[in-house]
Amino acid sequence: MSDFEMIEAEQICIIVNFGLGSKLLQIVKNYDVSAETVLLGKGTVNNRILDFLGLSDIRKEIVLMVANKNAADKILEKLNEEIDFEKPGHGIAFTTSVRLLVGTRGNQSDNLIERRGVDDNMYDAITVIVDMGKAEYVIDAATNAGSKGGTIIKGRGSGIHETSKLFSMDIEPEKEIVLILSEKDKTEAIVSSIRKELKIDEPGKGILYIQNVNKAYGLLK
């Protein structure tokens, strides 16, 4: 059997208000899940008054983990119970497919269990990586095209052309990663708006990719 057989695993991505990340980790600890990682980011609130005051940003924690499909469903159900994603402002959770999973203690034997329910498959996850400071424009462009908002994560690093040395330190430019969830029928509009505003197609302006979302919680209609 090759290592590259298709496995039925999913990456779960949960975005909650700052401070809830560790609580989430405690909840999922009893499940068969691996690679739990917490990142810090900031999210936006769609509110004209707050936007005017410059207070539209809020600190978020992004929790990433990988589990086989069956466990992923159970975890999401459990989390939904605890956190109640359907209430506005309680956060969102979604899953994307994973093709290969290496280096976990996960037992793949039980991934034959048949799955309950159908995947929603109504959403896309759009990821945009741009230079530091450009994330706001990405969010703006997306919002103009009908997106509900997005989450910004700070990062560093880049293509081979960009590392340089200042004095005795190696420099890698700071980047921002923007995560946007969109309904399938709006994805095209959002993506083309971002492409136009940020000129992503030109070299060095950033990259953008889209993933299928299998299941999503907490997205307001």
Binding site: G21, M132, R156, L166, P173, E174
Partner: protein, 497 residues
């Protein structure tokens, strides 16, 4: 839940301890006037509101300016431009710092104007500018932080041998005073902006801290040098505080508004000027970002005015009153204990503490938890105040009896503790001695010294800040040590399993 609401919740829980302690004291050993208690509560409300607004302002105004400034200046790739620019910035933000000017006018007074107020402000600011640019260059050249501190403090201790006892206290106090609530967020953001670019992610984490600590040593050195050169001894005039006695509840707050507003405008001015100069020269931020930063500055201004009015109008007299009535009690042990609890609770309400913790969480992605830093910091400041009270009660103890072993120990520890914690520890020392501690705890100390026979309000009053600045160095490096041991045993996250 928006940012302001989030901050309000955070601040509420951090100001509550001090309110609870004062009320408990009121009903037990230090009964206060009813009007004083009402003013204290109004002050507390102003502090909560002001602190929340101020912290929002720091988030969207001051920190982004520091970040933009740091990353712009470094791209010039010319050492002399960077050194001069950072020196200039350090000089002006420190010259505008309200607490430095308060300290300077006290020095002016006790030396009978031999050392004038202006000269001490200018000279201490030159010191801060120099060490700030030194600290910045350290980040660029990856010079280990513990070595920098060892060198700087060795110089300080050699200078201290030639400095008179009173000036020793004044110069160490200057280190806590030059880095105030406006300066610290800016310097922290500056350090973060450069370190964040480093491709070595461990170095990038470590070098985000320590710059505030390095900058503050400049003030200690220059004030010492000044006292040695001018060969002044403090004259024997006793310092008379004639605080106005207020009978009405609101007038002390209203009277505070005008001077406080002036003070805060002055403190913000250098940052605003830096911003607009660089915005026209090289930032060229879009209108949206610009508007956000301007809003942030407005928030920082309003919030800080509210905060200071609350502290000065509501907390100061309560501090004196508690200090006085606890010190008159037969059993002096009370004073030490009350000092501990007040110190413990006061530091939690210190504005810069939250800015530092925010940066720690940000840089370590939440690996170092808020509580892990807050608790040792509060214990450290509590112990520092308890030690200061001990110094008032037992006349034989001198300031250097605390400072020398304390600094020796923290320098020694800096060679065994993860570098990240060395930086955090030295920064948190300066952070702990902010406006809240300087006004409220100073008032408490003053009250206690007035009520104690044989205690000199002046000599015992100065020096308290320097102990507050020193104590966190030890406490947070111990924390670093614990982290080091625990991570060796396999992970912090699940250590409680």
């Amino acid at each position: 839940m928006n940012l302001l609401f989030f901050k309000l919740k955070e601040v509420l829980s951090s100001v509550l301890p001090i309110i609870v302690i004062v009320i408990i004291l009121n009903f037990t050993i230090a009964p206060l006037d009813v009007s004083l208690i009402i003013r204290f509560l109004i002050g507390a409300a102003l502090i909560i509101l002001g602190l929340a607004i101020f912290l929002c302002g720091v988030d969207i105004g001051i920190s982004p300016i520091g970040n933009a400034f740091g990353s712009t200046i470094i791209k010039t790739n010319k050492l002399w431009i960077i050194a001069i620019a950072i020196f200039t910035v350090g000089f002006f933000i420190s010259i505008a710092e309200p607490s430095l000017r308060i300290l300077a006018s006290q020095v002016d007074f006790v030396t009978s104007s031999i050392i004038s107020k202006e000269s001490i402000v200018v000279i201490a600011s030159i010191g801060v500018g120099t060490t700030l640019s030194l600290g910045f260059v350290r980040i660029l050249y990856n010079i280990p932080i513990n070595k920098v501190f060892t060198i700087l403090y060795s110089i300080i201790f050699i200078l201290a041998l030639f400095t008179s006892r009173e000036f020793l206290a004044i110069s160490f106090d200057a280190s806590g005073s030059t880095t105030g609530a406006m300066t610290i967020p800016f310097i922290l953001a500056l350090a973060h902006s450069v370190s964040a670019m480093k491709s070595d992610s461990k170095a990038s984490e470590e070098d985000s801290f320590g710059l505030v600590g390095i900058a503050s040593t400049g003030a200690i050195m220059t004030v010492m040098i000044m006292s040695i050169i001018s060969k002044t001894d403090t004259s024997t005039v006793s310092l008379e505080y004639n605080d106005p006695i207020f009978t009405s509840i609101f007038s002390p707050f209203i009277q505070q508004i005008a001077p406080t507003t002036k003070e805060v405008i002055l403190a913000l001015l250098p940052i605003v000027i830096i911003f607009f100069v660089f915005q026209t020269l090289s930032f060229k931020l879009s209108r949206k970002v610009l508007r956000k930063i301007v809003m942030g500055l407005v928030f920082a201004f309003i919030g800080f005015v509210l905060f200071l009015v609350g502290v000065n109008g509501g907390f100061m007299e309560v501090g004196v009153a508690i200090g006085y009535s606890v010190a008159t009690l037969e059993n002096k042990v009370y004073l030490v204990f009350v000092g501990f609890f007040l110190g413990f609770a006061t530091v939690l309400a210190e504005p810069s503490v939250y800015v530092l913790i925010y940066q720690i969480e940000d840089v370590t992605s939440g690996y170092i938890k808020r509580k892990a830093v807050l608790i040792p910091l509060a214990i450290a400041v509590g112990s520092a105040i308890a030690l200061s009270m001990l110094r008032i009660v037992v006349p034989g103890i001198q300031l250097w009896h605390y400072l020398l072993p304390g600094y020796l120990m923290s320098l020694m520890m800096s060679y065994f503790v993860p570098k990240l914690f060395v930086g955090i520890a030295f920064d948190s020392g300066c952070v702990a001695s902010g406006p809240m501690t300087i006004t409220f705890i100073s008032a408490f100390t003053r009250g206690a010294a007035e009520a104690t026979e044989g205690a000199n309000v002046l000599v015992d009053g100065f020096g308290m800040i320097s102990i507050v600045t020193m104590a966190p160095l030890i406490a947070l490096q111990i924390l670093g040590f614990i982290f080091k041991i625990k991570s060796k045993n396999g992970g912090i996250e699940y250590s409680n399993e």
